[in-house]
């Protein structure tokens, strides 16, 4: 790796250094922090958010947003719970739970991507509506006790790695491929950066966001089901504040809220930064009265450090860029 490549990577991933500093601080303050079991727990704690963050970051890269993920997660979980309670069996109930998320995502996608409604208004409506529907479905009563097979989804391990972490890794790797290797990544940047121009050169400026909303809904549903599995109950509190956690990781990771710019590795570092911070504050026994102050200070510090590294761009480091592939004629809608 050349000096210029290192500097270029540094510019794009300043948050990595903030994360490294944070890990170093907590490792000094707590002897139990820098251990394999604790990092497994950190990954487990953030796997669900991580699943949702991947399509969420892609939506923001396209200049869109999904604020309904927490509510879709709880709706999928409670519908699954009701399906189990009515004796439909695990496979069918799981499919129903996932279908609810995909359907809600398709609904969002149709209104926003196809009909051109405001993504903030529609998904804010979903935030209230899906949670309201979940409360209506449960009528205040939590279903619980779904058996061992379902518990494997949230609590099981494969080769010593928790299942939710494996699912997150799969989703993240797919995300990496789409973001950096497939034409879709460049198309998403084009949709978020200059939608009209993207449409003119034949990029599917409606279908790409539509399917991203479906993916977001599906990921939220899977997240809700994993939490229900971990708790062995479909509590209506599932997904509370999830949309903010997702947005924090994405924006901290440097994806521009207006679209067109961002790095999925940055998002991963953003996710891990928040996860490490939450875990570390408990490890060093920070008073709950001071916890929010500490979180706020750390997030501001990380954002400042990231900005500092981005300003290294003034060192005039060439960043490789690839031309946007124009699709075949007739491919665009």
């Amino acid at each position: 790796m050349t000096r210029q490549q290192i500097l270029g990577w540094t510019q794009r991933n300043g948050l990595f250094f903030a994360l490294a500093i944070l890990i170093a601080i907590f490792s000094i303050l707590s002897s139990r922090f820098l251990t394999v079991p604790n990092f497994t727990v950190i990954l487990l704690q953030n796997a669900v958010i991580g699943l949702i963050v991947v399509p969420g970051a892609m939506l923001i890269l396209c200049g869109l947003v999904d604020l309904s993920v927490g509510s879709v997660a709880v709706l999928s979980a409670v519908v699954f719970g009701q399906a189990m309670a009515s004796g439909l069996g695990l496979p069918v109930s799981l499919l129903i739970g996932l279908a609810v998320g995909a359907a809600w995502g398709a609904f969002n996608g149709y209104l926003i991507a196809i009909q051109g409604f405001s993504p903030i208004i529609i998904t804010l409506g979903g935030l209230a509506g899906a949670r309201g529907l979940a409360e209506f479905v449960t009528q205040g009563y939590t279903t619980y006790g779904y058996g061992r097979e379902f518990a494997f989804l949230g609590n099981g391990k494969l080769l010593g790695v928790p299942v939710p972490v494996i699912l997150f890794a799969i989703v993240f790797l797919i995300g990496l491929h789409l973001w950096y290797r497939a034409p879709l990544g460049r198309h998403m940047i084009a949709v978020g950066g200059a939608k009209d121009t993207a449409a003119e050169i034949g990029i599917k400026v409606k279908l790409i966001p539509f399917w991203l909303y479906v993916a977001s809904g599906l990921a939220a549903a899977l997240g809700g089901l994993i939490i229900a599995s971990q708790l062995d109950g479909a509590a209506v509190t599932i997904g509370t504040g999830m949309e903010l956690e997702v947005l924090t990781a994405i924006l901290l990771g440097g994806v521009s809220f207006t679209g067109g710019r961002g790095s999925l590795f940055g998002v991963l570092f953003g996710l891990l930064f928040v996860g490490v911070l939450s875990n570390g504050l408990v490890q060093v026994n920070v008073s709950p009265y001071f916890e929010q102050v500490a979180i706020g200070a750390a997030l501001c510090g990380a954002a400042a450090l990231d900005m500092f590294y981005q300003r290294l761009e003034r060192l005039n480091v060439p960043v490789e860029s690839e031309p946007i592939e124009a699709p075949q004629a007739g491919e665009a809608q």
């Binding site: 604790n38 487990l44 205040g140 619980y144 708790l231 109950g233 509590a235 709950p288």
Partner: protein
């Protein structure tokens, strides 16, 4: 002919308009009288996601039906500012009594004056507000003292007198801080050298994450006090999946939620205690207190201290069934 018809129509139109205006006037004067025949009680409960909520509302609605009152409900989602906004909306719409579980007792105090300006009643539940007309106060500090003494006894008898204690708490809700602070005090009174480790978690998903982190830092921790039963469920899942032994473990929560009571009834090795409120009695009283105030009832019926019951593995199943009956 055409001209005559037009004239008739105009006259009819004038008559109809006159009749309409007169009718609207009568309705305007009469409707409030009709509406006031059924008194309106607004209940501001902050968390309808809580497992005990439905039992609480079942009892409240049943009592309201018995008394012939209309019940309005709202849910601020544990947000004190949103709660103030919804209370002000109700005041603007005109209500006869406001029943509030105040998330921030100090912030709610000025609202009491506004309620009284409208000749309405202000009833608080869970905690107390200056100037209230009646209340059903949850004995949070007594419950904390009881649970703290129970935890101290557990540490003395089962953990050799030494043990770290974890707390899942929240700092912005007075009921919760009263519960946790009093538990702290009661444990320290018996075991002054006990170390406390705290994390913020009110609901089950947060309780799960917080306990996972606590157990990484303190794997020997055997006592975990949660500010709500929902949080205790998350703590239970974290313990269950940690691979740590459940022997001599004490996970305790507050509220008396259905799932927790059922687990305790089944002698779950992880979840040992729920500080249970009589949810049915609270639901009944939030309607009964305004009734007593309007009808000159005694102070014992309008100023009520609701005690918690410690439900543990030693509690007879029949007693647990009585508490659970409110969820039927």
């Amino acid at each position: 002919m055409v001209t005559k018809l037009r004239a008739v129509n105009r006259r009819n139109l004038m008559k109809l308009s006159g009749a309409g205006i007169a009718g609207a006037g009568i309705a305007w004067m009469g409707l409030p009288v009709l509406a006031q025949e059924k008194k309106r009680i607004a209940i501001a409960h902050p968390d309808r996601a809580a497992d005990y909520y439905q039992g609480f509302m079942n009892a409240a609605l049943k009592e309201a039906e018995k008394r012939g009152y209309e019940v309005l409900q709202s849910f601020s989602g544990m947000d004190p500012q949103k709660q103030l906004a919804e209370v002000n909306t109700w005041l603007a719409s005109g209500i006869d009594a406001l029943v509030v579980l105040a998330l921030d007792a100090n912030a709610m105090a000025p609202t009491v004056a506004k309620v009284h300006e409208q000749k309405a009643l202000f009833i608080s539940y869970a905690n107390r507000i200056d100037g209230e007309d009646g209340f059903i106060k949850w004995a949070d500090r007594d419950a904390g003292a009881l649970l703290g003494a129970y935890a101290a006894k557990h540490i003395k008898e089962k953990l050799g007198g030494k043990g770290d204690v974890g707390f899942l708490t929240a700092t912005n809700i007075q009921v919760v801080t009263d519960r946790i602070e009093s538990t702290h005090e009661a444990i320290l009174k018996e075991l002054p050298d006990t170390k406390f480790f705290e994390a913020t978690a009110l609901n089950a998903p947060d309780g799960l994450k917080a306990t996972q982190s606590l157990l990484q830092a303190h794997p020997e921790m055997k006592v975990l006090i949660c500010c709500t039963d929902d949080g205790a469920l998350g703590a239970r899942s974290a313990y269950q999946n940690s691979g740590l032994a459940a022997d001599n473990l004490l996970i305790a929560g507050f509220d008396g939620a259905k799932q927790n009571l059922n687990l305790i009834k089944a002698r779950d090795p992880y979840l040992q205690v729920s500080m249970a409120l009589d949810i049915g009695d609270i639901g009944r009283r939030v309607i009964d207190i305004p009734y007593q105030l309007w009808n000159g009832g005694p102070e014992s019926e309008t100023h009520v201290l609701q005690q918690y019951k410690l439900v543990g593995h030693e509690t007879p199943t029949e007693d647990i069934d009585v508490i659970l009956s409110v969820y039927a």
